[in-house]
Symmetry: C2
Subunit: 156 residues, 2 copies
DNA sequence: GTGCTTGCAAATTCTTTGCAACTTT
DNA sequence: AAAGTTGCAAAGAATTTGCAAGCAC
């Protein structure tokens, strides 16, 4: 499998800050900060796109060579439970992970390279509630993702 | 596994019409109308919620007892290719199928019983394009699903 | 030291493929 | 009769579980 170079557009400072937050969340919830976990956290924090478990595995293995795939699965479960990462369902892979959104944010995903960014400011909650009401539903959640070519892929 | 009674809120006439359309699409594209396929089509046409391959299998088997699960997978692939059914990614099952939307429609899914309806009239395309532009993306697709309790589940 | 984690191997679950027999048209 | 389809069995892929050894705190 080809893994493209992964460079997050967040600056290094923000990534470091996020990593510290994640590590703190782990320790304060009674979990332990091990080398495998640190490697996995770093991979996800630096990722500019949702990653499959195997991709996380391959990338994290560069730092922890004897890492087991099972550990990746278990760590991803834990991070998801803690709300640090989100499962992203794409059209191809439906089990990828990406750093979790801040709040009311949604993903904008490049259909060519996968590079993703969160956006907010849609402010459609009220509209969603209204739509639900007309069908007898009480809307309490939504799931929105936009797809399209990013600037880099368009100029290629 | 417990399969709840599945009653589509479309009236019988509409379901029959849709079934005829589907069957016609199959025959006109060179595919054949076999007993297994008819059973599968009926199950999906009558479903009020997205179904997993196994659920389709179990329900269709009531009509074609010696149906093989493989046939379900292959038929679902074909129906998806023809655009008759859509893959629906839920929070739990991400490989379920549901009759395809007419156009610019999105799903409203009950988080308790799974009963789903399509809605339209959101008219957010322009807003989506705009959001994409501010991030350098050229938006060419979106994926939206609303979640909430349906009227029946709320009164329970 | 205690209790959470890890990696290995094995078990499950889900989906796809090969193929001879069988339908549909 | 020709061509698409089916079901079985087997193969592959993806994910989970059991467990003894290893670490973090």
């Amino acid at each position: 499998m080809i893994l493209k170079i992964i460079i997050n557009k967040m600056n290094q400072e923000n990534i470091t800050k996020k990593l510290r937050n994640w590590e703190q969340t782990l320790t304060t919830t009674g979990s332990r900060l091990t080398a495998p976990r640190k490697a996995i956290l770093e991979v996800i924090a630096h990722a500019s796109q949702p990653l499959t478990p195997i991709e996380v595995f391959d990338l994290a293995r560069e730092k922890v060579p004897n890492l087991g795939l099972v550990t990746v699965y278990r760590t991803l479960d834990k991070l998801t439970d803690l709300g640090l990462v989100s499962r992203v369902h794409g059209h191809n892979d439906c089990q990828t992970v990406f750093r979790a959104a801040s709040s009311h944010q949604h993903l904008l995903i490049c259909t060519n390279c996968g590079t993703s960014v969160y956006f907010d400011g849609l402010d459609a909650e009220e509209r969603f509630d209204q739509i639900g009401r007309t069908h007898g539903y009480q809307v309490d959640g939504h799931w929105l993702q936009l797809y399209g070519l990013c600037a880099d892929c368009r100029t290629e």
